[in-house]
Structures are given as structure tokens and as C-alpha cells.
Amino acid sequence: MSVGRPIPHDAAVLHVTGTARYVDDIPAPHDTLHLCFGLSDTACGEIVAMDLAAVRSAPGVVAVLAAEDLPNSADTSPSAHDEPLLATGRVHHMGQPLFLAIANSHLAARKAVRRASVEIREEPAILSIDDALAADSRFEEGPRFYRKGDANRAIAAAPHRLEGRIEIGGQEHFYLEGQAALALPQEGGDMVVHTSSQHPTEIQHKVADALGLPMAAVRVEVRRMGGGFGGKESQANALAVACAVAARVTGRPCRMRYDRDDDMVITGKRHDFRIDYRAGYDDDGRIRGIEFRQFARCGWSQDLSLPVADRAMLHADNAYLLDDVTIESHRLKTNTQSATAFRGFGGPQGMVGIERVMDEIAHALGCDPVKVRRANYYADAAPGDAAPAPAPLDDGRDAPADTHADLTSRGTTETRGQPAPPPSGAQTTPYHMAVEDFVLGEMTERLVESADYRGRREQVRAWNAGNEILKRGLALTPVKFGISFTLTHLNQAGALVHVYQDGSVHLNHGGTEMGQGLFRKVSQVAAHRFGVPLERIRITATDTGKVPNTSATAASSGSDLNGMAVKAACDTIRDRIARLIAERHQARAADVRFGGDRVHVGGESYGWEEAVRLAYENRVSLSATGFYKTPKLEWDRIAGRGRPFFYFAQGVAATEVVIDTLTGENRILRTDILHDCGASLNPAVDMGQIEGGFVQGAGWLTTEELVWTDKGRLATHAPSTYKIPACSDRPRVSNVSLWDGRNREDTIYRSKAVGEPPLMLAISVLMALSDACAACGPHYPALDAPATPERVLAAVRRAREGAR
């Protein structure tokens, strides 16, 4: 039994010995060239002149390309085709690539680009949300709305009302491995690309477009990434396309990696948001009506901003049943890096909005925030109420027919027909999806007990009464996160499994490994299906030549989708072997069992290797593809109606913090987490996602601050100025438990996706800091994020003196 066991990461031995190979570690031919972009030093303007003679004559430089030198109009956008590889006439943000130096070494290329003489006629840049609103600079024709009931009327009729605003900063991914690619030209103009990308099919598509080749002439391989977090879903495109184009031009292998400062200045980050809210509520804190107005700063190109902003809307309810609600979303276009996917994909920002409202209602009523949250929770599902397995899948795929669109990108905007309405009487989200698997009521009760929330609430109160300078805060917040790509057709996956004569199994699927343990989990599934030890399963690099038309490894979907596809492939081979063995014993194929590295039939059994040899000798195919598509999804993103998610992953966290009211410095003292992974495929891997996601989320909401100058220059472009959590920033005490449930829906072994949801458990940190600030005075502190010392100190002042 390999499924459900806490087995270490498949590459753990390679990691600790330094032998795990990342793109920049791949030995390349001796004549390989190295690339570096020359970047815009202006946020907005027109390129008047670009003199690259000094770059061309720099030591080691082989060639220099500007936009007009590109063989095809190379584009790197995953959506609107609005991102030329190199600037064409105009620049749209400081850090935009203008030209490409191709040199004998990475250092030579970096040095060369600084010799360029570029003249840009500067124009006023649109940098902030206010700038964009004033200029009506936005994507899509206007704001999007999701509506349920009549929020305006309900707010007016409610006993109490409040309104406010929260500003939520963005976040740099800071994957430890910067972006990297290596292109190896092949005979006949074909191209092989190694890339550090979550989306090899997107790389294949963009490279093929840039070279004027069919996708079949481009093969993309990804063995692993040194972290992705969404930052390598679309942002790896530019390097891969640049390498491929340069390899085409020079006829030599080309590799590229961004120096860290370039990486931070060029690539997109998490969207920063402003959320305005207006709510009406009753004496119990139950929300009667609520309106959110979300403003997302999307940067200069569309990238994945539309689905990101959609997901922020889709999580504006978090765990709370809202009867009368309006969510309005503005996707603002600014002269900054193009904000992109980042773990949670807008969901975290949407959730922070309503958690702020819960916090403020509790403050206004003077009652415990947990009580207010629970008063607003969706109702728990009846226990044991598992959904049935769906009918067998048909083989047809229902993707749209436009072959030029980025079909496999989340940037594609597709609307579908009329989704069926939810069952009458169901509790529904603001987008009219029935919530049938809610378990947070019971989970919260469990955590309140295990974390001694009530006792510690009293201790915090006593501490604060006795301490003038240092104040503690405590908060408990839930997470309900929707699992599926909201672009429904992406919810498909393929796998390729070969069993060789010696019984070894070559496993391949469309998912990519970025540290999340996907390969380990999927190999556990394969070993389980064949009933063989894990050692027989050979995990191999993701390769567009093996499994085509893959979706990005994103949206927490990796194990759900690829686990099912691998299961299907394994079962095909298993069933073939079973039929053969059954025939020999005049048994039914269904009675052949696979386990303990043997194949059992009746009272007899064959060793796995023997069974495989037998199958080969009897001319049974030992190779199969597998395919999976998620059932039950129906979604109209324009109307805001339907079922975008297969199910909800859930979790709850209680966090205690302490702040210094003289300086605003703060730290996390303790966190208790209860998280729902369904029936975990690998509890160790899942715990790692939870602990790591929490700290990453805590960084987003505390120390990680992106600062742009008034000219649009990113001032925090290196780890010296942009501070992700260090070792001592993790909670002093951290108690993490897995909820012992099974997925109500028929997922792979009834597990649940775990990649993104735990990040949002860290919202408890922000709310605990708010609680500590609130201990300083009578007013609501209205703490913004990230809660740097400066913002905490400002919130302490607001608590004491009220908003100015």
C-alpha cells in the first residue's frame, strides 16, 4: 500500500546531495550562447532612439536583437497577445525588455546590455489604482459584477451598518531558482527547450509561434523547478522564446537565466488590491447585506489578470453564507510589471476582504470574532454524505475550436452556455453554486478546543491589561477554497505509462514538479494500482512529446488531475494483464488482484516481473495513455453563475501574535492549524504544503512589501530590500493537524488539493495583529497589509485616536 503513507519527496536524496538538476545545471554543448535582456529605465513612453553599437562591440557579444530583428513577431503573453518579446515603439513599464544581447557568457551578456544608449520620450505613467481610475485605464470594458439578492436594500434595512477600505499589497514569488531556459536547435529547424516552467505546453505554443513552426516541431521538457508558486505559469515564456529565437538566429544552443534583480524587475507578482466594503448586519453579527468593490492593479499587460480577478470575486464570501451580496471588480491597467498568478490566484485577496469585515463587525459589536464568524458560516454538510462516482468518461474533449488562441492558458476567456441552476433550497455562494461539502463548523469547534482558544483569549486580555508596551493579539480565521480551474476546459489531464520487460514502470504525466511533491504522490498512485513497491516506478521529466496539450500545473489541481490520469493509464495496462492471467486460469478478469508485488488469481499468484514477461510474450501491449476530465463543472464567468468548482478545500487557523506599540514591530508566537486534505495521499507532503504555505502567506501579510518609486521603479528588487520570512520568523509554536475526512466528491482516493489553500490560513496573522492593535484603544485599527512595523504603528495610533 503506497497511497496514504508519509513517504519523502522522490528527489530528496538528490536535493540533499546537490545532484538534483535544474535548468541551469544541465550540461550544455560547448558552443552554447548566453542571453541577457536590455531593460527600459522608463515606465511609460516612446522609444525615440536605440543605439546598440556599443552593445554589439562589447567583449564576447555574438549578436544583438531588437524587435525589428526578430524573425516573427514574437509574443510572450498567455492571453491577449499584448506582450511583445521586445518592446515595439513604446515602453509600458520600467524593466520591460527592449533588446536581447547574445554572448559567450552570462556575465558578458549582462555587462554588454549596460552599454546601450536608449532614448525614451517619457510620458506620465499610470502607476497607482487612483491613477488608473482617474484615467479609466482598465482591462475589459468595465467592471464585472456578481450579484445575489439585493445587497443595497438589505444593507439599508439592517440594524447596523459599516463601511471601509482595506489596501492589500502584492507579493514577489521569490522562487529560489530564478527563471531559466535552454534551447537546443535540432535538424530541420525543430527546437528542444528545457525550461523552468509550470506550463510546458504554453512554452511549446509560444516558441512554435515565435519560430513559425507547428507545435509538433517543438518539444519542451521540464524536470523540476526550484519553486514556482504561480510565478512560472506565464513568466517563463519570455526566456524560452528568447532562447529559441536566438538559437534560430545563431544556429547555436542558447541559454538564459535572469539575475535576481532582473527577475524581480521584469516579472509579474501577486496583484495588489484595494477593497472597499459596505455591510449591514444584525446584533449577532450576521451579515444581512454586503457590497464589495475590488480594485486589482494588473500592470501593463493582461496576462492572467482576468481569471485572477474572477477568483478574487469567487472568494469574496470565503466561508460565509451571504444572501444579499454584490461584488464589483475593476481590473486596472498600470505601467508596472504585469501582475500574474501567485498561489491562491486572487483568492487570498478576496478572502482578506471579508475577513476584514468580520473583524470590524466583531469590534463594533464588542463580541468575540469567532462568534461573529460562526454566525455567518455556511451550514455543515450532513456527515457521511459522499457524492457518488460519476459515470464513465467519454473520450471526447469539448475544447473550443479557435486554434490560434492560447487554448491551454488560463488567460483564455471562454464563456459557456447556461449552467443549470443550483438545487432549490440549497445554500449558495454569491455565484449561485450550491455549497454541499462545508465542514468548517465542526473543524472550527475542534480547533477552538485543541488550541484552547477561549482560555487563551482570557490570557491575552490579562496580558494586555498588564503590559503597557507589548500587546498580544489572537485570531481564528477559516479558509474555504474552490478547487478547479475556473476556465472549465483546462480541467483535463493526460498520462503515459510504460511497463518494460523487466517490470520497471516508466511514469509520465502532464504535471510539473516545483517542490510540491506531485511526482511523489502520482508515483504512489501508480505503485498502488499495480500493487508494486515504489522502487519499480521511475518518475520522468514532464515532456510535451510524451503527454500533449497539458494544462499548467496550477490551481492546486496537479494531484487531482494527473493522479486520475495516471490511474486511468495504469488501470488500462493492469486490466490487460488481468485479462491474460484470467484466461490462463479460466477466471474472471475482475477477480485478478494486484498486490505485494504479485498478481493473484484464485489461489495462485505470479511475481510482478513474471506476469509482465508473460504479457509481453503473449503480445499484450504494456504501454497506455490515461486521460481524465473533472466532472460536474459548468460556469459562466460573465454572468457569475454556475459551478466553477468541483469541491472546496477547507482549513482553519488560530494565531497569536505580539506587537511593540512603540515601533510596530511584531512577531508570530503560536499557530494552531487544522486543515482538510480529504484522505491524504501523502500526509508528510501535505503537512509540508500546509506549514510552508502558512509561512509564505504570513510573509505576504507582514514583512514582504513591494515599493515602487514615484517614477515607477521597483525599489525592492532584491532580497536585501524585499524580505521574505527567514527561519526565525516562523511561529514559535506551530501545531498542525490534518482533518480526518474524505473528499465527498470522487477524487483520486478521495483526497483533496492542498497547494494553495494553506496560504490563506495566514490571514489569521493579519487579524491577530489587528486584534493586538485594537487592544491599544477604543477605535477600529483598520490595519492594512502588509503589516510592516510602520503600518502596525499607524494602526495602533488609529486605535488610540480614531481615523484622521
Partner: protein
């Protein structure tokens, strides 16, 4: 003169044509040792950490800002050399696997080397030892669990490098010279050997320049762009002849000129090996610190006298930085946000400068004239800094977005003497509040001679704006800096009254 060192136990020699080639690039590009990773190329993430052993002991250093000439006579162990010769895993490697300490794995080699260095030295202050290694996946808890699990395991034999073997591998002529100079000895197995308990008695009264060793001149003849002086006298002579030269001690600052600024500074003097400037002498009247004493040398020596300064040092540079960066460098580079100067100024430090045979001593605060401008003459260098022995009243308050390995938004250092309820003396200095480290003289004046009371403190706080007109930048706004600077005086007052005001001491 080539640079000779042990690489994973085997001697290697590299030529001196490119003195600013980094160890990281050399490992990855010339040696194909790609286990050592580049994460930031500025010494802030630790992905490139390697284990370095010399006569002073073993420590982890960042290979991305370590120039090859700095390694002469040392032993370097990369992640590839942390496992045994037969491939047997080091205890920290086994523990990292068993405790799920790696996810994406890219930071892991740097963690392994840093953990192995700490393990060899028997260190169990894991948060501090690992403060210079960033991990974006795990949230650190499983890594710390691994470090704890490995702590009790014995140090594998292969980890005990003998850098003397590097010397014996040198070409004969230079090996003889090195032996003459004393040569490194095998390191002790536990703590790094402390720097000289006492300074060389004659550190300030050495022989005239004419008598300096010929080694420096020979160096210069071989590589006209760089030298590796072994004594302060050699340095003084060279610097007098090359006043436009750049002194490289730990390279934690100059390293970035090269890796980020893409500059090619020349000529260079690598001075970290100048043993007669590497001391922390705790005398009866003063503490004297040689310029090439590292922060890690200073920290344990100063901890019994001024624990707040030791804690400040712990926070502002992680282990890899403390093991390389020098006291002299932190002062001489003149940064307005260097954290040592405000503390030393508050302690009443004197800076000792030398130009050729000429020496002078000035109050440390007078060294900092303006942003980017110090009172330093051509060819003049920092030899030492001294602070008078005193009752410990020093409090150092570093304000930054992150506690460990972050640059200060502001750093306030206070030493206020209260006798019979009245302030008899106040020395207060700040970093990050002006273009230089600077004393808060108006605040000091407002306090001195007054009763030590909340009212007096409040009055003094309002004088802060006379002393400072700070800037807004990515670390903090001007308003926050000014408000918090005043609040730090309030904190000092509360602490002197015994009120709990130490965030890092609050327990869950």
C-alpha cells in the same frame, strides 16, 4: 601567486588573472560542481553556501560574493563534498530526508552546507545558524526539526579538513614563505578559535615601511592588479603607493560592486589575511578591535561586556555574513545604515587610522562627514577602533521589516548615565536617520543635567526633529523614522525602569 586551497579534500590551484572571479562562478562553470546554487548573487539567500575551514575554524560562507584570492590556504567543502567518499550521507543529509526538509530542493544544498558547518561546531542555536538561508517552500519548521535530529550525531571524519594540506600543495617557493608567516593550523573541532585574546603589543608601533616584507612586492610583480598583504605594514606601503586601490576584506560589500554593479575594481588588496589587524583586545581601560576582526570574532568577545551590541551583531548579519564581514569594513565603507557605527559611537569609540607611517586617532563620529564622504586621506586605512571600558548602559534598537539579516530602517543606540535620578551623560547615535551615522546631540543636551523622568524623556523626544530630517525610502517613511526614533528613547526609559519592552523575549 596562484591561489591554492582544498576543494572537497583535494588541493587545487587557480591562477590570478581574474581576481574578482567568484567562487560560485568558478565552481559551477569551471569545475562543473552545480550543486552550489545561485539564488540572489548578493549574499542574502544562502543558496550558494559552502563550508570554509582555515586556521580560525570552520564556517559557512556565501560563495557568490567570495573572490578566489580570498581562499588561499583554506579548505572549501561544497555540497558535493558533504557526503562521504563512499557516498555515505552526512547526518544532516539523512535528517533532511527523514524530516521532509526539502521541497523544491533549490535552497537545500545551501542549507546542507550551513547545517554541516554548524554541526561540526556543535552549534544548536539553529534559528541563528540558519538565518542566512532562505527557503520559500517549507516554512523552515521541518528543516529545524532535521537540524535538531542531527545534532547528536557524530561529526563524520571527512568533514575535518586540514587546510595545512593546501599549503603543502603550493609551489615550493611560496609554500616556504607561508610557513615563515606562521601558516594555518588544523582547526579545533568545536568552536572556531577565538581571535587573539590580546592584540599584538606593537600593533600601533610597527617598524617603518622600508622594512616590510618583500612578499607584497612580489605579489604585485606577478599580478599588477592585486596583492595579498600579510601585515599591516605591507598594506600601508602598498596603499600609499596605490591610493586609488580598493581594499577587500570580507567582500560582503565590494562583492556586490562586482556581482551587481558589474564593476571591475582595480588594483585590489585582499586584506582579510592580515593577522596583525585581526584581534579583539579586551584591556583594563579599553576594548580594542582590529580592522580585520570579523563580526563573528567580535560577537563572543563583546557579549559579556555589552550584550546588546552582541545581539545587534547577531541580527544584522547572518552567519555567512558575520564570518566574512569585518569591523573595519563596516566602518570604513561609510554607509549611513551600517549598524556597528551607531553602537560604537554611543560607546564613545575612537577610530585609529593609518597612512603610511602616520597614524592618527579621532572620535568615530568625526569620521563620517557626509553621505559618501569620510575623513579618510588618500592611502589611509582603518587600523582599529577602540571603546573605553565602562559600565554597560548600552541599548541597541534595530528597526527593520524582518528581524534577521535585514538592513535597518533606523538603528538607535543609547548609553545614558543616570546618577541619583539625574542624567549625567547621554550618548545617543542613530543609523538610517541621516546621510551618515550621527549623534542626536540636541536630544542628548535635552536630557543631560535633567531628572530621568517621563516628562524629561518626552521633552527630549521633541528635540529629535532638531537632530534629524530623515528621508523616505523603501524601508520606511520619514515620518515613521522620526516618530520611532523618539519612541526608542521612550523604550530605553521603560527598560531602565524594568518594564517589559523586548518583543523577542516574549514567549508563546
Amino acid at each position: 601567486m596562484p591561489t591554492t586551497f582544498l576543494l572537497n579534500g583535494a588541493p587545487v590551484s587557480v591562477g590570478g588573472d581574474d581576481p574578482t572571479r567568484t567562487l560560485l562562478d568558478w565552481l559551477r562553470l569551471d569545475r562543473g560542481l552545480t550543486g552550489t546554487k545561485e539564488g540572489c548573487n548578493e549574499g542574502d539567500c544562502g543558496a550558494c553556501s559552502v563550508v570554509v575551514t582555515d586556521g580560525r575554524g570552520t564556517r559557512a560562507l556565501n560563495a557568490c560574493i567570495l573572490f578566489l584570492p580570498q581562499l588561499d590556504g583554506k579548505a572549501v567543502r561544497t555540497v558535493e563534498g558533504v557526503a562521504g567518499p563512499e557516498g555515505e550521507l552526512h547526518p544532516v543529509q539523512r535528517a533532511m530526508i527523514e524530516h521532509h526538509g526539502s521541497q523544491c530542493g533549490f535552497c537545500t544544498p545551501g542549507f546542507i552546507t550551513t547545517m554541516a558547518a554548524a554541526h561540526l561546531r556543535g552549534r544548536t542555536d539553529h534559528d541563528d545558524q540558519l538565518a542566512g538561508n532562505l527557503c520559500r517552500c517549507t516554512g523552515y519548521a521541518p528543516i529545524v526539526r532535521a537540524a535538531e535530529a542531527a545534532a547528536a550525531e557524530p561529526v563524520p571524519d571527512w568533514m575535518r579538513d586540514d587546510p595545512a594540506r593546501a599549503l603543502s600543495a603550493r609551489p615550493a617557493a611560496t609554500a616556504a614563505a607561508a610557513e615563515e608567516a606562521g601558516g594555518p593550523t588544523a582547526p579545533s573541532s568545536d568552536e572556531a578559535a577565538p581571535p587573539h585574546a590580546t592584540a599584538p603589543a606593537d600593533w600601533g608601533r610597527r617598524a617603518p615601511l622600508a622594512e616590510t616584507s618583500a612578499a607584497c612586492g612580489a605579489d604585485m610583480a606577478a599580478h599588477p592588479t592585486w596583492v595579498r598583504p600579510r601585515t599591516a605594514d605591507e598594506l600601508a606601503a602598498w596603499y600609499l603607493a596605490h591610493p586609488d586601490g580598493v581594499l577587500v576584506a570580507g567582500a560582503t560589500d565590494v562583492g556586490l560592486w562586482v556581482t551587481k554593479g558589474l564593476r571591475e575594481p582595480s588594483p585590489l588588496a585582499f586584506i582579510a589575511g592580515i593577522e596583525d589587524l585581526r584581534f579583539v583586545e579586551v584591556g583594563e581601560d579599553e576594548v580594542c578591535i582590529g580592522a580585520t576582526a570579523t563580526l563573528e570574532d567580535l560577537r563572543p568577545a563583546i557579549a559579556p561586556l555589552h550584550p546588546d551590541l552582541a545581539e545587534l551583531i547577531r541580527r544584522f548579519g547572518a552567519a555567512q555574513v558575520r564570518g566574512a564581514a569585518t569591523v573595519g569594513g563596516n566602518i570604513a565603507n561609510g554607509s549611513p545604515i551600517g549598524d556597528l557605527p551607531p553602537a560604537l559611537i554611543a560607546l564613545g569609540a575612537t577610530l585609529h587610522l593609518r597612512q603610511g607611517d602616520t597614524r592618527r586617532s579621532i572620535p568615530l563620529e568625526d569620521f563620517f562627514i557626509d553621505y559618501g564622504k569620510q575623513d579618510r586621506r588618500p592611502g589611509e586605512f582603518v587600523e582599529a577602533v577602540s571603546v573605553p571600558r565602562q559600565t554597560d548602559r548600552l541599548r541597541c534598537y534595530k528597526i527593520s521589516k524582518r528581524f534577521d539579516q535585514d538592513i535597518s530602517a533606523l538603528c538607535g543606540c543609547f548609553r545614558i548615565t543616570v546618577e541619583d535620578g539625574g542624567v549625567t551623560d547621554a550618548r545617543i547615535a542613530f543609523g538610517g536617520m541621516a546621510g551618515t551615522p550621527k549623534r542626536a546631540r540636541a536630544v542628548e543636551a535635552a536630557l543631560t543635567g535633567r531628572n530621568w523622568s517621563q516628562a524629561a524623556v518626552d521633552r527630549a523626544c521633541s528635540a529629535m526633529a532638531e537632530d534629524f530630517q530623515p528621508l523616505s525610502d523603501m524601508r520606511a517613511s520619514a515620518g515613521y523614522r522620526l516618530e520611532t526614533a523618539a519612541n526608542l528613547l521612550v523604550r530605553y526609559f521603560h527598560e531602565s525602569a524594568g518594564t517589559a519592552a523586548r518583543l523577542l523575549e516574549v514567549q508563546p
